[in-house]
């Protein structure tokens, strides 16, 4: 059945195919428009450069009035990403608005990678290193980048 959420997600998909922002890709999983797989490529000239990070986006029938649940499948080391891969990002929580589509969500997460918000740490170790020991932080990020090539 075609519900408002499903119709909207078809349009999100069409936009992502026709006009894909640099460094992200995403598509519905098999024939399930409510569950998406996505990949974010680590931005060039940053410690994240070369990483391919996998995510899932789970939508409900409340979309686009409610945000999807977005989680990294790849292991991450980032001040705003929890151990289970869930992401602490305002637009995925209380600052959500239907003006965001899948492309906008993924673009926002991509910019969060290099621009963490140390004030709301989900990973306190990553937050501490980010502000106190950037060298060690960058080394840990490079490790994660390398792991992203081998993990499935």
């Amino acid at each position: 059945m075609s519900t408002p959420a499903r119709k909207r997600l078809m349009r999100d998909f069409k936009r992502l195919q026709q006009d894909p922002p640099a460094g992200i890709s995403g598509a519905p999983y098999d024939n399930n428009i409510m569950l998406w797989n996505a990949v974010i490529f680590g931005p060039d000239d940053t410690p994240w450069d070369g990483g391919t990070f996998k995510l899932t986006l789970q939508f409900t029938e409340d979309y686009p009035n409610k945000p999807p649940t977005v989680r990294f499948i790849s292991r991450m080391f980032h001040p705003n990403i929890y151990a289970d891969g869930s992401i602490c990002l305002d637009i995925l929580q209380n600052q959500w608005s239907p003006i965001y589509d899948v492309a906008a969500i993924l673009t926002s997460i991509q910019s969060l990678l290099c621009d963490p918000n140390p004030n709301s740490p989900a990973n306190s170790e990553a937050a501490r290193l980010f502000s106190e020991n950037k060298r060690e932080y960058n080394r840990k990020v490079r490790e994660i980048v390398e792991q992203s090539w081998t993990a499935d």
Binding site: R8, Q93, N94, P98, I99, Y100
Partner: protein, 266 residues
């Protein structure tokens, strides 16, 4: 944060998005036990001019929800086809505004379509026409009600961004945010409360005057009590407002710090 929103959600569930029309005496009843004498005095003054109140849920969308119901109910009762045509032209202008601002059409078109559908349904004589009862029902149905609220948020945000130079000083008076940040964080997300900036922008964009009656503890220095109100009058020349003659708002909202409900004049 999550706990806070859970508590809010629980509290909000106790009142439907849009309540039943209640006699104004129910407002006084709220303050009977230990209410401030100033408030009781003001409610007495209100009851001379207003007959009833319709409460809305305190979920941060109460201004937009009150406006939605009051506007559609006005059209349903007045069957003012000229007003519908006028507002429809302004809605199309809002659509062009959002397009020019670079919003992808597919992110807002469903919200526009749903509002126009509601507008059409309150005018009698078509197959889709609805009763007052059905309007209440739809306003309590999240899949309709939240879409219309979001439609107003789009319209409000578009108007503020379009006239950002005009709105900027007022926004700076509320927060230290830029116009862009303000729209992204205080207008476009559901559940963000409305202030005079939102009301001005919505009233201007749609060309609909709004009266807001203030019920708070303020009183004059000499101890006399009066009830203040402010009329938000659409700026002349902006869109298709009904001209520059003194307009009598057909939408009256009651503001108590942090919340809006609908008032019905006698």
């Amino acid at each position: 944060m999550q706990q806070q929103s859970a508590i809010q959600a629980e509290e909000a569930e106790k009142i439907p998005f849009v309540g039943d029309k209640e006699p104004l005496s129910s407002l006084a009843a709220e303050y009977k036990a230990g209410g401030s004498p100033v408030l009781l005095e003001k409610i007495k003054i209100l009851s001379e001019q207003y007959a009833a109140i319709r409460r809305t849920r305190g979920d941060g969308n109460c201004f937009f929800r009150s406006f939605m119901f009051a506007y559609l109910e006005h059209i349903l009762e007045s069957q003012d086809r000229a007003e519908v045509d006028r507002v429809r032209a302004n809605v199309e202008e809002c659509r062009r505004t959002l397009q020019k601002l670079g919003y992808p059409e597919f992110t807002f078109e469903d919200f526009f379509a749903l509002f126009l559908e509601q507008l059409e349904s309150v005018i009698q004589g078509s197959e889709a026409s609805i009763s007052d009862e059905e309007l209440v029902k739809r306003s309590r149905d999240q899949s309709v009600s939240d879409y219309v609220v979001m439609f107003f948020r789009f319209v409000t945000s578009g108007e503020i961004r379009k006239r950002s130079e005009f709105f900027e000083p007022f926004i700076l008076g509320l927060t230290s945010a830029s116009v862009e940040q303000f729209c992204k964080s205080a207008v476009e997300p559901m559940g963000e409360e409305s202030d005079h900036v939102h009301i001005t922008a919505l009233s201007d964009a749609l060309g609909v005057p709004i009266r807001v009656v203030y019920l708070d503890r303020s009183s004059c220095d000499n101890g006399s009590v009066s009830v203040n109100h402010h009329d938000f009058t659409p700026v002349a020349g902006n869109n298709n407002s009904g001209g520059s003659e003194a307009v009598n708002p057909f939408i009256t909202l009651l503001y108590r710090p942090g919340h809006y409900d609908i008032l019905y004049p006698k």
